[in-house]
Symmetry: D2
Subunit: 371 residues, 4 copies
């Protein structure tokens, strides 16, 4: 069994999350090819060396191009700031490396589609870090829907609300940059990814977005005009005719992880929130009205791949475990030369929905989703 040489770019929030997952994935899962932590790249040699030591990478570099070019590197993990995603991914594809890129794939839809085209043309295995899709409970939801357990889908109502941008005086962040920022791009993309995963293609959208704090202190401390949205409500018309609405909001006081949805079908309903992501609420028509009601299902060994983490039900997976499952899916696909999910194409399609929402909000009209 040969190993897969790993190159990790970045060691911040998401870089650490990749490192944790790379350390765990071989312990938890029986992989065809285990990861070998080859090179870690960061902005400076110092940063890179420290992170490499902490996370157990053999080498460190301040030059990400070196990392991509290195023959010992089979797989490139991109967790650098958003503006680097496109050039890094392009270089990795060109170098014949599998690519694991954090979201958003690109600041513009055109670039995202372009990357998807390049990856497909090169036969590159790619994945984008929509790790909430990797929750075993999410698989259960999708399986129930696909099996018709709740009938035809009538409505999808989703939200991703957190409060990390609610302080109007907080220091400037890349999230406020017009190229790639905004609540819809940052959070809305997650609920869009779930809508697509569970229900399917979205055909048209209408939206209302607002910038609640039109100025914030810029990186230089001076007041700076903000053009990205702080929150957005959007209507979704699915390709199969189902109706939906989603909200993205990063000012939602008191919410730290309200990535939630309620799905109504002609024979039942499903509810979920990431704030309690080991649980799914399910209602199905039953014979006895006296005892009918929503049931709360708790993740356990019946829900693949929970059992790999723990043989006992109800013990609960954590955020980093979802990343470990994502890593399992990705590295397994890489070893087999298969496509992974969600790949660059899927990420571009998610971005197409986000793009349509922002256009719809800007132009106050229904907008067709491209792609």
């Amino acid at each position: 069994m040969s190993e897969l040489g790993i190159g990790l770019i970045g060691s911040g929030f998401m870089g650490a999350s990749h490192a944790f997952a790379l350390a765990a994935v071989g312990q938890v899962f029986n992989l065809p090819r285990r990861p070998r932590l080859e090179i870690l790249a960061d902005a400076t040699e110092d940063l890179a060396s420290q992170a490499a030591r902490r996370f157990g990478f053999a080498r460190a570099t301040a030059d990400w191009q070196t990392l991509i070019a290195d023959p010992a590197v089979d797989v490139v993990h991109i967790t650098a700031p958003n503006r680097f995603h496109v050039p890094m991914a392009k270089a990795a594809i060109a170098a014949g490396k599998a690519v694991h890129c954090e979201k958003p794939l690109a600041a513009s839809l055109a670039e995202a589609m372009d990357l998807a085209d390049l990856a497909e043309a090169a036969g590159t295995t790619t994945i984008v870090g929509f790790n909430y899709l990797k929750n075993p409970i999410q698989m259960l939801a999708r399986d129930l829907i696909a099996a018709g357990e709740i009938g035809d889908i009538v409505s999808f109502r989703g939200i991703h609300a957190e409060d990390y941008m609610r302080d109007p005086d907080a220091p400037w962040s890349w999230r406020l940059d017009p190229a790639g920022g905004g609540a819809t791009m940052d959070l809305g993309s997650h609920i869009v990814s779930l809508a697509r995963f569970l229900i399917g293609d979205i055909a048209r959208v209408s939206a209302h977005a607002t910038t609640v704090f039109p100025t914030r202190p810029g990186p230089d401390g001076k007041s700076r005009e903000i053009t990205v949205d702080d929150q957005c409500h959007a209507l979704l018309e699915f390709a199969d005719g189902a109706s939906g609405a989603i909200q993205a909001n990063w000012l939602a006081a008191g919410q730290t992880m309200q990535l939630a949805y309620e799905i109504i079908g002609t024979k039942g309903s499903i509810g979920f929130t990431q704030a309690r992501f080991n649980e799914l609420r399910l209602y199905r028509d039953g014979p006895d009205q006296k005892t009918s009601g929503f049931r709360t299902i708790t993740a356990g060994p019946a829900h693949e791949p929970y059992a790999a983490f723990c043989p006992a039900p109800g013990h609960q997976l954590g955020f980093n475990d979802l990343k470990t499952i994502e890593m399992r899916d990705f590295l397994t696909a890489v070893a087999a030369g298969d496509t992974a999910f969600p790949d660059f194409r899927e990420a571009a399609r998610i971005e197409a929905v986000v793009d349509a929402i922002l256009t719809a909000a800007e132009e106050r009209r229904w907008v067709k989703v491209l792609g």
Copy 2:
């Protein structure tokens, strides 16, 4: 202290609810003028007599015009089928009687506005049965918002979903009639009434509505085409700039009373569901991050007029108690010759929002709310 002579038209779900409230209101509250149950009108003499006996009315009639004309009747309660609301309300206003009308006030916005004009011109005390507004916990929510406790309002996200129309083979009902029916009219009006009560005027809307079961068995058993919406998602732009979205759905499997909202402000958040209507969830910024979180407030004597029903907190009001509070507000206003809330004007404004939503869905564009 003189009494108020009551005429009640109808004795179905809502007629009984009025009767319960009329029996309770004088026990629970210290009214300036207590109700005297004078005449009950229903479709036939038999129905009317039986109901009058059960509910303690002195007389019964099959002719609602007689009831309205009767000099012993000071107040007319209209709980007849929707299509009678306009003629009955008109007659009552013309006869100088105070009017308590169930929703919807009228099948068309024009008629609703007309009734509001007539009532105002006549100086008639009116109220429309949006009894969920009468919840002490709802008053608390409004007071908190009005006092700025959660800052400026950023977003209102609401829903009213139930499942009483989900059987596609169920017998025909007035709710399916184009004149006055549909999920948005029947349920959406409640969440609109709350949005207006808590946040304020709605300026513009966009919407997506679907008729999931395009035919149903008609009153004659033959298949009949359905034109009203089974469910609808709408975007709301409030006059003060806040953003919102609501859903109305009467096919929502497993939901019996999901009249719910989440409000986000710049300094806090509020959450509520009628399914647990003695509770309010409140988040406010606090000094200590370690112990911050949403709190669940339970209705008690601190929330007027809970104490009139029970001196001990947490014992819980029921659905009929909300109607009793509505009755208190109405009869108190009648005794004082004041306006009540929500009066015909407010009901017409709620209907204007519903009307705009249906137009927006039909024409797939943003629509300005009239009035």
Copy 3:
């Protein structure tokens, strides 16, 4: 159809609750004999007159013996302070009147048993105000258990915790009186009544009780020694071998109505809390592990007699509605000359459990329950 002449003693919290229920019961239910509000007695003529006027009683008196003796009175409702329960109930039984008495029936077990004997000997219809037993959801729980839906009962875990006595400086109250007071007597009796209603006879108990505030300001403002328990944990051995534990606590900061239980059977489980008393949580073994979980059942027309209050599910009953159901049960039994539930005998048996708990706590040993 003749009426039943009602005499009500007391017009405080519970007196008002009886009055509300007496006004509602004939509206909501189709009674064989409707109540006629004859006389209201209170401590003074003034109090009695005011309450009689408010609640619609024809006459008022400061002499409860007059009320009991009055030939127009068929039914006596005792809501006076605890120490009057025994003499009033005795007099009413002797006068051949049906008796509705608030809990506790008597300050001592001997007196309670004696009253039960007297009532049985006289063939008197009696009921004691354990109104939480009248919840339709409680009937559902009992029916499910009786039908073996959750198998043989393994364990009952209950609590009744509120916080109304938690201020150590609050003014003296009858609840602190050794004759009839204490958390176990006041609150524990409710959870004992549910344990008996749902599971059956309790054979033996062990307990630990504490008086957290050993002195409190007496009626004269001077510090007074407190001998009743502020809180108590007890073990229950049921006659059929099931095991249980309950807690009574009136210092439970933040709890206003935590009357709750969890029942475990060999084939399923049931959970309930009075804080959300229109809901029952039920788990039953199912074929599919993937979708098994506790379901939340919401009260609706399937649960008798919910439909009498409202034809639509999920609209929720309130505290006073439970009293109305209690009144229905009682007046129906009176009209038929039947026994009602829970009658004086059942109340005495509940008191026997409370008595055994207090003895067990005092003597630090297992105690057999009498009766």
Copy 4:
């Protein structure tokens, strides 16, 4: 910085959990001495080799004594079946190795105390795997209590209920062995550990335990008499006078992780369940009755050491993360030559409470807790 040589005995549920934690701990935390995975021992060479390969240990053995004796091993992790805990721990202490042992430490209290004495005499750093104590939310609860935020403790009400033993026909398991088994030993010890951690020493207990299935199929398939308890309710008298009750139950249909408690103090209350272990419910007296209520606190960077796993609040830790924190605490103490928590002494004290509970149940009397 030197490393710590790790010897792991066992590779089942708990062995894997240790292996996951050993792989993660150095990535997540900045340890003084990182673990080096030296030897893994299991029942056979094959099992040991496979597990060593999977978990990244350098060597494998079927002889645990060899592992303990190996000079490259500084730390011994004991996850073998319960009956091996004592001899393995003794050998490790004698060999001068730090010891991480899974619970229960020993089948008898005397042996547990003996091990604690030995470890203390040898100055050995020890820890026992009560990993639920390592939850950042649990630290918060303890800190709040210790700081007097909820006043003096009035009551502790706890439970640990799961349903893994509820099938009466399930194959024999070590849990049913009289030496070390039973619901109180297996589950009750967890809730006892929390009671001690949060409140303090337990002085006396009373209990009621039952064996619901008195026979089960033995390892040979023949019916075998069961002597351990399936469930147990116990009363606790804390040394400081607080009152408590706990339940242990492994037949609790539908419960997979109900390790829960409610603590009442004179100034507030705290509630927790391991089924949602990233949340704590807190009630504290506030100035405004209108908005008082239990708040739900969600784990985040404010709660050490959550931030080491994720810089964003609300993203949630999982079961294996708690083990990683336990590993951090242990390896840090080993590196410093300090005691860890909970060490053998604490585990023995927990076992003393369990022992007293079983005696109290057996002899139907209050029993003083030893030690």
